[in-house]
């Protein structure tokens, strides 16, 4: 029984770490612009697909990953420059709808550039499962969890300790005041799209060996990542990670002990319950009333 529980928890942690990475991407853009970027899942797709095709071209894993992340960052910045920037000044809702359009466009382009087949990236360090008690874990899962942790720490340092990170936070609190202080608000937005696209791509590459990748892999992951971000509290880095892990473990325990058919329902019921009692999520800042 306890072996079964260990397996469920390990599975939940792996899935949760994946959701957390996607949720972090939502958090960064939300922080800078109060826009929920629904093209976040497509960055995940671009990361995985680009890595796979670069490996097919004969590149070793590491340069392929670097190039794929760079490509996704470029796409993210182009999205900001050519779709979000021209609509500057529009309401957040308008911008969100633009990102939905962008996600459809990116999926269409992916079909043209690549194809509609499934692809896979080789595991970073083999497929031999690691035995933990009577449960097993793939080495790739450790990569996912480890890199998620590193990214969380890096982001914490970036937003808390660097000038540019603080500029992003200042912009998120009050763009006008930030601009008056000499912060280039347009650059901040540009930067945060690039950053979150890169993050999404890293997530896509890390999980491709476990989950496979294809032109539409971003749809479901984007949705789950969004749910995780909401659960943790939009805009909170710690919240995104905790939200992702809670969602992953809830799904896995739900499938294990209740019924695999209601797995998604159980996860979403938990989210609804949390939001009902804590409308700003587990770690979200209570939005102060403006005077």
């Amino acid at each position: 029984m306890s072996a079964q529980l260990t397996q469920f928890l390990l599975t939940g942690l792996t899935i949760g770490a994946i959701y957390a990475l996607v949720a972090l991407g939502f958090a960064i853009i939300y922080n800078a612009s109060h826009v929920i970027n629904f093209a976040q899942g497509e960055f995940v797709m671009i990361g995985g697909m680009a890595t796979e095709s670069l490996i097919q071209l004969g590149l070793p894993l590491v340069p392929a990953i670097a190039l794929a992340v760079a490509a996704a960052v470029l796409v993210g910045m182009a999205l900001e420059r050519f779709a979000i920037e021209p609509a500057r000044g529009a309401s957040a809702t308008t911008l969100i709808i633009i990102t939905i359009g962008a996600s459809i466009l990116l999926r269409g382009l992916a079909i043209l550039v690549w194809d509609k087949k499934l692809h896979t990236v080789p595991s970073f360090s083999g497929d031999t499962p690691i035995q933990i008690g009577q449960a097993t874990l793939l080495p790739q899962s450790l990569w996912v969890m480890g890199i998620t942790l590193v990214i969380v720490l890096l982001l914490g340092w970036f937003f808390g300790r660097t000038l540019i990170g603080k500029a992003v936070l200042a912009t998120s609190h009050n763009p006008v005041a930030a601009q008056l202080c000499g912060i280039n608000v347009r650059f901040v937005l540009f930067l945060s799209f690039g950053l979150s696209a890169g993050l999404g791509a890293v997530a896509g590459i890390l999980i491709a060996p476990i989950t496979l990748t294809s032109w539409d892999v971003g749809v479901m992951l984007g949705l789950k990542g969004f749910a995780a971000a909401i659960l943790g509290g939009l805009g909170s880095g710690v919240g995104a990670v905790v939200g992702g892990l809670v969602l992953g473990i809830a799904e896995s325990l739900g499938a294990g002990y209740v019924s695999s058919a209601y797995k998604d329902a159980i996860a979403f019921i938990i989210i609804l319950a949390v939001l009902f009692f804590m409308p700003s999520g587990l770690f979200g800042k209570k939005s102060p009333d403006r005077v």
């Binding site: 079964q4 599975t11 499934l118 097993t136 476990i210 499938a255 058919a261």
Partner: protein, 387 residues
């Protein structure tokens, strides 16, 4: 019409009919036989419609090059329904009413096929569907035939193999997509006929990335002897990988939905030992020379792969069979009269196609039996025939 208008209209009518005749005359001598098709060439079911379209084009060209049918050329009138049943219905109507085709071969998905069925029945148009579900030909509809195997046959083929291996307590794990649900239901229905007891029945969502939880439950189910994954898409690959990760040391069966080289490529080592039912086309070259289907499948495979430089798929094969059944029926009927062609299709006996040996009857509008499926096993990274 009053009599005094006739003289004024008459010359006009004459002139028009003379003009029409002048245009029509060269083609009228050997008017082409029109083969209608509506296929899901783009959209989510493009993996079905694309090879089907290419196959129809290739073989109609080939048939025309060797003299056509009944001394007439074939002409393909094809529409892309993009996997949308509503569009499929519109195109079927257009094929019947405007294009006045002689036979319809098409309907890549069960949804698009069923949307066209009421129309072809009303118009009395011979219709050969390329979609899988049992519901297309059960109950039998007078004007509707189909070429692909059904998911029920796939279940039966798997269960026969399990009987041979003395495995009777089986766990199912399937997705929530249309293909998965339909096949799971068929498997549950026919399991008792083969004395198979389903001891676990797990599901996973369409975009799920991990099935270790479901497989852990199956692994811990008392007395389970084999696992069957009626699935389609990326699900079966993840199941196969997780299966190895958890070291579930039981025979694993997949469905014909993933019978392709790609499945092995995506699953890697984990696919070793996996069995599934598949059409002969997948192992064309491996078939023994005595196999009646060998000549047909090797020829189709070489023609298709030679022309399009992409791996042959069983779906294109279904279109080949559909076209050939229609053409053979016209030859035997000696005409393109719709009722005669329909009767001739229903009387098809011993037609050897890519999908199997077809023996139609008034009660069976598919005409395939379990011999149409081969049980394959992954050995050394390739599909091999289980003797």
């Amino acid at each position: 019409m009053t009599s005094n208008t006739v003289p004024t209209r008459f010359p006009k009518l004459l002139a028009i009919s003379a003009m029409l005749a002048a245009f029509a005359a060269p083609t009228l001598a050997q008017e082409a036989i029109r083969i209608g098709a509506f296929l899901s060439v783009t959209g989510p079911a493009a993996f079905l419609g694309d090879p089907e379209q290419k196959t129809l084009e290739t073989y109609i060209e080939k048939i025309n090059a060797s003299g056509g049918v009944l001394g007439r050329k074939l002409q393909l009138v094809s529409y892309d329904d993009a996997g949308d049943a509503e569009k499929a219905r519109t195109f079927a109507k257009r094929l019947i009413e405007q294009d006045k085709v002689d036979v319809i071969v098409g309907g890549s998905t069960t949804g698009s096929t069923m949307a066209a069925v009421p129309l072809v029945e009303a118009a009395q148009m011979p219709f050969i569907s390329l979609a899988g579900a049992v519901v297309i030909t059960e109950p039998v509809k007078k004007w509707v035939f189909k070429t692909p195997h059904t998911d029920r046959m796939a279940c039966e083929k798997v269960f026969v193999d399990m009987n041979d291996r003395k495995l009777s307590r089986v766990a199912l794990i399937s997705g929530t997509g249309g293909f998965d649900k339909s096949m799971r239901a068929e498997c549950l229905k026919v399991a008792p006929n083969y004395k198979i007891q389903v001891v676990a029945d797990e599901t996973y969502g369409a975009g799920d990335t991990d099935m270790t939880v479901q497989l852990t439950k199956i692994k811990n189910t008392a007395g389970v002897q084999a696992v069957l994954n009626p699935g389609f898409g990326q699900g079966p690959t993840i199941v196969t990988k997780n299966y190895k990760q958890l070291a579930v040391n039981l025979p694993l069966y997949q469905s014909h939905g993933v019978a392709s080289k790609e499945f092995i490529k995506l699953s890697g080592d984990a696919s070793e030992g996996v069995r599934l039912p598949a059409a002969a086309l997948l192992i064309a070259e491996q078939l023994p020379d005595s196999d009646p289907q060998k000549k047909v499948v090797v020829s189709y495979k070489q023609t298709y792969e030679g022309k399009y430089k992409q791996d042959v798929s069983t779906f294109g094969g279904h279109a080949y069979d559909g076209l050939m059944l229609a053409v053979e029926a016209m030859r035997r009927a000696g005409s393109t009269d719709k009722a005669k062609v329909r009767d001739a299709i229903e009387a098809t006996k011993g037609y050897i196609g890519t999908g199997g040996v077809v023996n139609m009857s008034p009660t069976d509008h598919m005409g395939l039996d379990l011999s149409a499926f081969r049980t394959l096993e992954v050995k050394g990274g390739v599909w091999t025939l289980v003797k």
